[in-house]
């Protein structure tokens, strides 16, 4: 799932080398923290947060497929 977030984020931003994903494994839920270059934040969030919501939805689908739960936090 970490790869999924990296894959998407790196293809949306102008500075893919600054994409960092940190995985925090919990008992039931895994939290992923996504950090991108300041000027790329808008590209990850999108108009009205649509892109961020889409990434979260895809992450959930991937997690469900694996029988897990995952949360994405976008760091500012």
């Amino acid at each position: 799932m970490k790869e999924l977030i990296e894959y998407i984020a790196k293809r949306l931003v102008d500075k893919p080398e600054e994409v960092v994903v940190r995985e925090i494994t919990g008992e039931r839920t895994t939290i992923f923290e996504l950090k991108v270059a300041q000027e790329d934040l808008g590209k990850i969030i999108g108009k009205h947060g649509r892109t961020a919501r889409s990434i979260r939805t895809l992450l959930s689908a991937a997690a469900t497929k694996m029988g897990k739960r995952a949360v994405l936090e976008i760091l500012e």
Partner: protein, 218 residues
Amino acid sequence: MDEHRRNCIETEGKTVGDAVGNALKRLGVEEDDVEIEVLDEGSRGVFSILGSRQARVRVRLKIGLGPSSEPAELVRELLSAMGFSAEVESKDVQDATEITIGSTGADGLLIGKRGETLECFQHVVSKMLNRNASSWRHVIVDVGGYRKRREGQLMKLASSLAERASSTGQEVSTDPLKASERRIIHLALKDHPGVRSFAVGEGLVKRVVIGPKDTGRS
């Protein structure tokens, strides 16, 4: 940090083309795999000595991208990153790219409630494919024939609601629908002699209301 440096290098050459060539050789990739930023176009100088400057470019690897960002390939990679695998085909139709995903064995999960997950998938793919593109391409993604099926359902719904509206003389409404879905209903009833259709609601949550033509509403 080392990884960063490998993703992005600066090179010089007699011309911009030479500089790019040097970078590609060092990275061992094709031109399609990189983004090129010209830092200095260089200058031949007056007598090719005096004041001549090397051209300098910064070349950044499109990380993880295969030979190209061909739509079908990108969708295949995205699916596999999500733990799905399926046949993927893409074709260009006018100014749109239609991407068709075969059955994944878990289509329901990829489609989501009312096609919500598919909509998100399509949005992300569209953003990725249109990044840095000079002109916007419309991207349509379908999974296991879902959109076609849904279109059939909506057309059936349109005609049954139209029948109810004309037999009872009352207005009837659909559930909230997406713009693309409302369009299917409107088009299905465009030439219907007895009813008219219009959207009701705010922003993204709109319903289609179907009513008899002679209600006098504008």
